[in-house]
Structures are given as structure tokens and as C-alpha cells.
Subunit: 215 residues, 2 copies
Amino acid sequence: MTWAGPDRKASGVPAADPPRRGRPGYDQQTVLRRAVDLFNRQGYDATSMSDLAAELGLSKSALYHHVPSKASLLQQALDEALDALELALDAASSDPGAPAYDRLKAAVRSSVTVLMTHLPAVTLLLRVRGNGTVEVEALRRRRAVDERLTALVREAVREGSVRADLPPDLTGRLLFGMVNSLVEWVRPEGRYDAAALADAVSRLTFEGLDARHER
Amino acid sequence: MTWAGPDRKASGVPAADPPRRGRPGYDQQTVLRRAVDLFNRQGYDATSMSDLAAELGLSKSALYHHVPSKASLLQQALDEALDALELALDAASSDPGAPAYDRLKAAVRSSVTVLMTHLPAVTLLLRVRGNGTVEVEALRRRRAVDERLTALVREAVREGSVRADLPPDLTGRLLFGMVNSLVEWVRPEGRYDAAALADAVSRLTFEGLDARHER
DNA sequence: GTCTATATCCTGATAGAC
DNA sequence: GTCTATCAGGATATAGAC
């Protein structure tokens, strides 16, 4: 069974694909993308390689021709998410001379953007519980990201631009808790694009939802 | 097989336990509590009944003497969470004459309180993906709760007390996304109690984190 | 209430033919 | 690249002795 499906290419980026010769079959990117989608629908642990094979219209063995293990699929997805998050955070805090307030706002915006552009991978990352070495390592990297974000909030409080009547750690957790909660319902083909969501989160968190703060 | 299970009662209430006679063993509440804790640490699907038996220091068969199935443990926990959430929402919106703004604020506060007092059960609920009938039914009830909360936000926007430059559905999702994100890090023995957290969430969301809004 | 032993099915992963 | 057949182990759950 072939199923053809030259619907390959780096997920998300609509780049031109190099022409393929010979038997089509699946390429790794497509397998990974479909796998991550299934993991997000059913949960990683609840998804068996049989499920994935069925989803792809393959036998389990054929699937193992494309993929060395179930954990490797998880690993690739988590790496994608973490690479993107770390990169976005680097960019947001690139100018150490800028006010922490601006850098924090930039971090919120770029976090939302990464969350949207790498939605499946980030969704998977945010659900990792720490079972197995792949998940443990991912949690380690994620904690590092969280700590950089918290440090940013702390700086902004110190410079006086963010309210100081709440502990900065708490403010940071709640702020990025709201950001991360987007993965629970946002859909790429949905009503809101990354910019609109980044704007909404930014307004809600910085200005509040009280009508008196409306601008 | 015992299980019985008419031992309902608002779970979570740290009432004094009736003195036990005869062979100690485990009572159902304890088994359920330990099970839910383990489910939350490892994930429901990643936790086997062997894991749970080992955690309790029992054999698998002895465990099945206390519990009819793995799914029943899940069911009880999800029911506990949903019962508590629905009840809290009823109370928060009990006075239809009160301004929607006040009812919304009350709903936020009581949601945080329920989340804290029934933390393990609510955590489990928020991670359910819809695998199996137990989870599907829980998701159905959860969606109903979400819709009532969204309706509350919509009302508050209509009465002019909550900012109208964002779609009410979006505001509601972000607001309760922040609330729900508490389960990711909050611990009952931690620095913050329910009242402090409810206060922090309320301030952050209604007033914003900008220092200019600090009161 | 707890145990050992077992039934039945499914898991991730592999071997080797086509 | 895909298949059928298979492996060793683990899953939920049960039977029946003590």
C-alpha cells in the first residue's frame, strides 16, 4: 500500500519541495507531523505505534522503517518546541539596555508567536510529565526557560514598571500560565492569528480586563 | 469484592475519620487519594495498576479487592472535581440581580478556591483528553461549565464593566486559562493559600500588571 | 483482605520475504 | 518500502486458596 501523499515538506513552512523520484511513501517530516497530531489528540502514552500506523495507513513494521522508536518522535517534537522557545527568548532579551518592561512585553509576544507557529510541538511539550529520559531532559530545558522569564519579571518589578504588590515569581507564573493555556483551545485555522492573540494577551495582562483601563 | 461506594460526601473535606475496627487495610478514600496523586505525577495512561499496587504496598489482586477497575478511580476523581466546580459556579451566580462584574469576580475567586481545595481531582480533570467513555462524559460536563463562565464574561461586557475591545469569548478563555494554569505548579503546602492566590489572580486579571494600575 | 497463579490481550520492537 | 509473522514483556482483570 502506497497512499502516495507527496504532501510532505517542513510542517508549517510552505517551502518548495525538491522533486522526489521513485516510490513515494512517507518522508520523516510527514510521519512526525502526523504522529505529533495524534499524540496531542489522544495523549502520548495513550497512543500506541499501532494507532499511529493505522492513522498513516501502514503496518506497524512499515512505520518502524521510517522511525527508530516512539521516543524518538517525542524527542524531535520536544526539541523543536524548546529550540523555538529558547530562540524567541534570546531575541526578546537581546538588548540588555532596553527597559525590562519592553523586554518582558516582547517575551510575551514572541512566546505567543512561537506557541502558534509551533503549536503541535509546544502543546506536546506542555503536557510532558517526566516519564523516561526524553521527558526528563525536556523538563530540564523547559525549567531553564521558565527561570529566564521569571528573571525578566523580577527585573521589571525592580525597575518599577510592573506592580510590586505581588511576588514577581507569582506574577510570572500567572502571566505565562495564561500564555501557555492557549494550547488548550487555539487552532491554526481558527478565528485568531498569532498577532491578534499576542495583542489580546498583552492587553489583558498589562492593562487588565476592567473597563476603566480600556484604552 | 467490596467497593460499595456510597461513601460519597463532599470529598476533600478533612473531616475526622470514624474509628476503624478489625483488620486495618486500606479504605477506599485512601486508595483513591493515593491513586489520583500517582496519576497526576506520572499521567493516568502511564500509570499501571501494578504501579499503584506497588505504591500502596499491595499486590495487584489485593488492589482489585478495593477497586473494581482503573477507570472507576478516574471516574470518582473527575466527578469530585466537576461536582465541586459546578457547585461553586452555582454559588457565584446565585444572585441574578447582582452586577455581572461582581458575579464574574466571585466566579474567579471560587474557581481558584475549588482548584486549591480539590487540587488533585481538578488537576486530573484538566488533563483529560477524551479517551474512553469516562473521559468523554467528563469533557461534556466540563464544556458546560466553561460555557457558563463565558456567558458570565459576555454579560459583564454587555453591562459595560469589562473591556469591550476584546471578544468576550477570548477574554473568558484567557482569564480561566490563567486560573487553570495554577494546577501546573501550585502545591497545598506551598507558600500561597487559596485566598492569596484568588486575590493575586483577581488583581492581575482585573487591574493588570502594569505598575500604573497598582492600588 | 491478601495472596499466587493465570487468562487474555496489547505493547514496542525485530526478522526476513517480496 | 511494505508486508506477515513473531518476540518478550506488560497491561487489565479474574480465580480460588488461605
